[in-house]
């Protein structure tokens, strides 16, 4: 009992950390924002790249394939570094200056690997739909675009959603890498708190909080994705 009270006593690690909570949450909010935006951009560009991979024209397929493999197989941290240092901090559009704060650059950086992964997920999902479905649509006078949107993608969707959700979990956790280039996300803020408080005993509890935040956010998504995978693998009949 006294041990428990000690943990929450006036000089305990928690007592020191609790006032920082709003700031920690604000940092974590930036992690969520970066991951959601990177994912949204990556889904659009990745779907386009994936569709190009499905083209019948070799001259289109080959560059799309190479780009997909490149984006998928580059270390995320290296991509983050490159984007941070190669992207200008502001650009001029007409007479207007548009600036890119670090967190926006982080969004761009993380959207690149997402593009590569989504491209593969889309290609795999469309491949999984039997070719006889394309044929049946063709025989009913459907054009290629309508075939993809009305017949192929809705069937591929169930195939694609669980891996996309898993990818999102990875992206959410990877946003902590942005601390290395100074984005004010949760890890950067935690480090600032630790240098401000200068108490070695705080390190484990402080990082414990970020760990808990990520876990509470990511775990339900990953659980749901596994659930969907199980339910849909049963329901997918022809």
């Amino acid at each position: 009992m006294t041990a428990l009270l000690d943990m929450f006593g006036p000089h305990s690690a928690w007592a020191v950390l609790i006032p920082w909570f709003p700031l920690i949450l604000k940092g974590f909010w930036l992690n969520i924002l970066i991951s959601v935006l990177a994912m949204a951009i990556g889904i659009v560009t990745g779907a386009a790249l994936g569709a190009l991979q499905m083209s019948k024209v070799r001259l289109i397929v080959l560059p799309a394939r190479v780009l997909t493999l490149f984006l998928r197989n580059s270390p995320w941290l290296v991509i983050v570094f490159y984007v941070m240092y190669l992207m200008p901090f502001e650009i001029r559009v007409g007479s207007q200056w548009i600036s890119f704060p670090d967190w926006v650059k982080a969004v761009v950086a993380f959207s690149l690997p997402v593009t590569g992964y989504i491209s593969e997920i889309v290609r795999g999902g469309m491949r999984a739909v039997p070719t006889t479905q394309w044929e049946a649509a063709e025989a009913l006078a459907f054009g290629p675009a309508r075939t993809v949107f009305s017949i192929i993608l809705p069937q591929a969707f169930k195939q694609m959603l669980p891996p996309t959700m898993n990818l999102y979990c990875s992206v959410a956790m990877a946003t902590s890498l942005a601390n290395i280039v100074g984005v004010q996300e949760v890890i950067t803020i935690t480090q600032t708190i630790l240098t401000t408080e200068t108490r070695p005993g705080l390190i484990l509890p402080a990082y414990g909080i970020t760990l808990a935040l990520f876990f509470v956010y990511v775990f339900p998504i990953s659980l749901l994705s596994r659930q969907l995978e199980r339910v849909w693998s049963k329901g997918l009949q022809r």
Partner: protein, 248 residues
């Protein structure tokens, strides 16, 4: 069996088709008149199904000519979608869209491709479902139906496009024996309404009963064609006799 009008609706003239180095059709010629029921029979790999796939341009041909209602299929400027509106095709493996209900399967192409009025299409779909005796399955998904039921839905789906010609590609080959009959009855109903029908089939008795003309193909060529009575009772070619001995 049916009244045969004079104008040929589907004409194949010396059609050649190769897949890579393999020539599957080596000069196929045939003419199908309006409302005629034609059966194509022959051993596996003789090119029967390929003939159907060439007629609706699912497989482009290498040489020769195919016309459907006067429209040349072997033409680089062919409007394949206009062609396919005239030619319905039913596949061996049904190929219904599994993510759509029976009614949606039937209505999709008329709504999305032909841009027809929804109420009108729906009325037609219901009447076709009645015709294939599946009215109670309107809202079922394909996965909930038996093979025979799925195939009848596939027939209704094709008919809802109001085609001029219906092609049936071994449509009973994947079915359980007890459901074969219900599909054959449906095809017979379609044929009796005057639809031009081209069937590729292994059901010899059915071919004999329903057809106006039977074609026998072997190794990419038409070996002989005749009225069903003469074809089955008095086959002319040695290969036809050998084949009929085996299957009958």
């Amino acid at each position: 069996m049916s009244q045969v009008a004079a104008a040929p609706q589907v004409v194949l003239t010396d059609v050649h088709k190769s897949y890579g180095h393999l020539e599957v059709l080596k000069g196929i010629s045939m003419a199908v008149k309006r409302s005629e029921i034609v059966s194509i029979i022959g051993p596996s790999g003789s090119g029967k199904s390929t003939i159907l796939r060439c007629i609706n341009a699912l497989a482009p041909i290498n040489a020769g000519s195919i016309t459907v209602g006067g429209m040349e299929v072997n033409d680089p400027k062919l409007d394949a979608r206009a062609l396919r509106r005239r030619v319905g095709m039913v596949f061996q493996s049904y190929n219904l869209f599994p993510h759509r209900t029976v009614l949606q399967n039937i209505m999709m192409a008329p709504l999305q491709v032909l841009k027809q009025d929804k109420a009108e299409v729906e009325a037609r779909a219901h009447s076709l479902l009645g015709k294939v005796r599946l009215s109670e399955k309107v809202n079922a998904y394909p996965g909930e139906l038996s093979g025979g039921q799925q195939q009848r839905v596939a027939i209704a789906r094709s008919l809802c496009m109001n085609p001029d010609v219906m092609m049936f590609d071994e449509v009973t080959a994947a079915l359980d024996p007890e459901t074969v009959k219900e599909v054959l009855v449906t095809i017979r109903d379609v044929a009796e309404e005057g639809m031009t029908c081209i069937l590729v089939t292994h059901e010899m008795r059915f071919a004999r009963e329903i057809s106006d003309t039977v074609y026998f193909t072997d190794k990419g060529r038409i070996i002989e064609s005749n009225s069903p009575k003469d074809f089955f009772e008095n086959p002319q070619d040695e290969r036809t006799r050998a084949f009929l001995d085996k299957v009958l």
